[in-house]
Amino acid sequence: MIVGGGGHGLATAYYLATRHGITDVAVLERGPIGLGNVARNTTIIRSNYFLPDNIRFYELSLQLWEGLERALNFNAMVSQRGTLNLFHTEAQRDLFTRRANQMRLLGVDAQAVSRAQVKALVPLVDLDNGRYPVLGGFLQPRGGTVRHDAVAWGYARGASRAGVDIIEHCEVTALRCVAGRVCGVETARGMIGADTVCLAVAGHSSLLAAMAGLTLPIESHVLQAYVSEALKPVLDVVLTYGAGHFYVSQSDKGGLVFGGAIDGYNTYGQRGTLPMSEEVAAAAVTLLPGLARVKVLRQWGGVMDMTMDGSPIISKTPIEGLIMNGGWCYGGFKAIPAGGLTTAHLIAHGAPHPAAAHLSLERFAAGCTLDERGVGPFPYLH
């Protein structure tokens, strides 16, 4: 029983059926599938992390993205246009160099990009902007974007054809546990028994876990995203600004898809407040002043599971038979293929996939947290 018909839930069901031959699987979704965070992200894929275990996990995901359309026979518009991270100080250059070296040691693509090359790649960038001049960048050529809705549909169709039941409009209202073991879920449409229940409800993991009496190392926060009116092609790569939190790409329809940091306070409201919109717009205009008069077409928010170390959780829980896939912070989209693959492995074998063993829930108590930037146990800072 998989709770949550988003990217990770559907991918888990797909890999359970296709890689492990387990087809007595149902995916329960509160509303229609694919309308949660899988439809609310900025569609970026990349594996440019710093911690070796995280690099390996996200690189597995990137490699799965590269073969996804063939595997699903579904056009997900996987576009490896490259992700370009800019740096603005010498200290930041050193930090990025360290990260790129770490990636290259593990066989992942990363290359330094000079100021002149930045300008050649993205003529719109104001290299000498008055606030934070651009000193250079790092490019992961294999990074890029994927059409997010197609990911949900593609995995759903693949899972469905392999024998998985996808049940929409079926909200889970309680988890049924007996003697520390899960035995089913109560839903708005009645009780359903199951030996294994997997929560894939990032954003709301704490609420579902609380139904089994568990308290997670997670806070829920809102992340806003924006899309502009359609423009002719102006941006070929995924571009990130290093002096604030801002990332942007151009969709095939022409809209600039962009976002920044989380608003920074606990919330389950799928909307944000204006101070963060202003901060994102300020970063956008500093870096790309030529776009200052472009109009924002839409704004939306998604609720994120922000963990205490900024890294996700794919793990067994203290309740026997209850598996968790969550804590994606705001990096869940790119991780969908690897998240689904490794969660399916955990369910099928009862032991973690080697690429996701570090993502266990026990890492917090064990002192093995995965804090990419070393900011400590403060979700609002990750």
């Binding site: 709301h204 704490s206 308290t215 997670i218 407040t273 205490m308």
Partner: protein, 91 residues
């Protein structure tokens, strides 16, 4: 825009404040054991509803405030100083 009524400065926009997280946690005694400290450092109730939280008024009096806010509607029901607790009937 959240508007927080600072007891010292009056009603101000959220941009004057910095969020400092769950205010319902208190540090266990030194001999409370690993489980208690793990819960203190890492585990959060993360309710969908009323949430007691810290906000630091960095752009004003620089005092740390305790705020009772709803995590779905964002309504703020009570604001006090760092060592104050909201009345029981509000929680």
């Amino acid at each position: 825009m959240l508007r927080i009524a600072c007891p010292w400065c009056g009603v101000r926009d959220e941009s004057e404040f910095r969020y400092r997280g769950d205010a319902s946690k208190s540090r266990p005694s030194a001999d409370a054991g690993l489980k208690a400290f793990n819960a203190y450092v890492y585990e959060r109730d993360n309710p969908k509803g009323w949430h007691l939280e810290w906000w630091l008024h960095v752009g004003g009096c620089r005092k740390l405030l305790t705020v009772l806010r709803h995590t779905l509607t964002h309504e703020i029901r009570w604001v006090g100083g760092a060592s104050d607790q909201p009345p029981e009937e509000l929680r």
